[in-house]
Amino acid sequence: MEYSKVTPAIVDELKAIFGERNVLTDPEKLEAYASDEAGKQWLHMPEVVVKAENEDQIVQLMKLANREHVPVTPRGAGSGLAGSCVPVYGGIVLSMEKMNRILEIDEVNMVAVCEPGVVTNDLCKAVADKGLFYAGYPMSVEESYIGANVVTNAGGAKVVKYGSTRSHVLGIECISATGEKLVLGGKRRKETSGYSLLQLMVGSEGTLAVVTKVIINLTVPPNMTVDLLVPFANFDDAVKASSNVIRTTKVYPITMEFMDIFSVKTTVEHLKLPAFPAQDQAAAYLLFTLEGKNQDELDELAEKAGTACLDMGALDVFVASTKTESDKLWTVRQQMPSVVLEKFPHMLAGDVVVPRSEVAEFIVKARDIMTKYPDLQLFFFGHIGDGNIHPNILDKESRSNQAWIEYSEKVYGELCMLGAQMGGTVSGEHGIGLGKKHVLSQALGEYPIALMRGIKEVFDPNGILNPGKIFDLK
């Protein structure tokens, strides 16, 4: 795709739309909008950054961008891992950081109405103050924006019980790539009225429209919870236990996370945290959260699941029932992605998801594949309860950036194809963005991609909204 450059005249027009203070052109300031959490491997400088304060500005922006044939890349907090918000063709980055108001917490309909730039954790806290609960919980909950959670269909630790962000979205208001306003869904809880454009927007990674308002489903909080940390001396025992505990005990967790010892020790050492329980004997851990109506029920569930783990080879079972104890465990799990990304600039954050029943075999086969590449290290942490185990690949040599991208994508492609053959897919929650584009078409085949491309053309005939993501435009 060829695009026009942002000219001084366009910058002036942007200043007239957004106000001078909301238009950035200073290269030092632009750099903060050039990459995402995956780091500098996909670094593309925008030509200009605009910060929207209302939807009218976005309507005007999209009309201008179509007229001038300049690409627009919407951006949330930049905590993504697939390069979805990286302005790969330069042009205009549209930052949603100033549209950050919680407009309404409607206790009757049990929904929250938000602008897209609300930090998800702030939404969680605001609804908790009203005795309500937002069930989404991406690992980046303290940074990422709710609007971006919606357009990337963010997952996280609680998907095993509550589903991904898609399950919590009731309504979206957005401005299409051509500058038309769309109101999709609403506070209503049911809808069988034509194709669901609402669900089409969820996970579209900002390639079809710019979300300006979201209506989020709320529920009541879990009664009481307890976290179990279960170390295993044998890696495979931990993997097998993850599905067997649920199958044999029928104790269904809110979260079930897997962490190998490499991930745990790297995080604990990097953050200078106290030693993790049993870290000298463990090869891998399961960490899960159980919910109960009262203390007795919770104790019973913990005993049932914990005893099953011990029978399946666990070294011990640690029970965190207070916030202090729980925070000790979850800090390590939550900080893990950012620590490994910070520590290892050449790391591919894998995101394969397979059915829960296939996780153990997937890991065995993935490790088999990786024996061909002794210059790479494979390590795992992820949401094993929903089959979204992140197979991460680490460069043991110091390759150039470009060489690393090509090499890691080729190797990751093999893992993705393995996952796809086992009933899985290439990305459970990070999205496709730039990083997984090459494997999506391999895994899905040409026809589904052609349909997606057709949909893209309907919404965005000039291909100016977040181009180069999910699939290549033709």
Partner: protein
Amino acid sequence: MRIAVLVKQVPSTDKVKMDEETGTMVRSAMDAELNPLDLYAVEEAVRAKEKTEETEITVISMGPPAAASAIKEAIAMGCDKGVLLSDKVFSGADTWATARTLSSAIEKIGPYDLIFAGERATDGETGQVGPSVAAQLDMPVLTYVSKIREVNGARIVVERAVEGGHEVVEASLPALVSVVKEINEPRIPTLKGKIRAKQTEVPVMTAQDVGLDAAHAGLLGSPTRVVKVFYPSLSRNGTIVDGRDPERAVNALVQFLKDKALV
């Protein structure tokens, strides 16, 4: 060796809510936990037990019947047994009356070679009960202990965190030791510990059991009263220096710092 650990059940730190009108804490039984700073005392006691054979740890707490769960949390971490001092006449106790109740109980069920306490409770924030118990039992008190160097049958050597460094202090046993956070990293209880705690009965001692009359316990036995609890008023009248003219802005900032004698 016989060890006692003094603990308190406090409102969970994430669930503390204040009644804006009365200025008192809104409590409900569900939202309570073992005082986080007592965890360090419990951990230190359990570590001492792991080092010294034939050591028994008793957890002692004064509180409502629900406070038994705080004692069980300590048992789950590795303490052997617990005693709950619970009686209507104990309610409303200040630090002196609390210490008197605790020390009366210790006189009944003791003696102990070593008594551990946390630095302070996260609700009352006084840090007085531990030292006061030691005073009433007439035993040495070692506060702000950040490391136990040595314990043998007759003496204890500890490091105390003091301003600007550490102090090494030796005391004879029995002694009371209140510990600071730096001393250890409290363990997370295991499932086996939790099951054992659940099965352990925590006996209750009343005022009569500890040999106190109502006049010396609870509100009646308290020489001090909380007269008022209020929020401190915050005033942050900041000054914004206009940065559009950097030179003027820097001069204005330098002048401000000089005026406040900060540079």
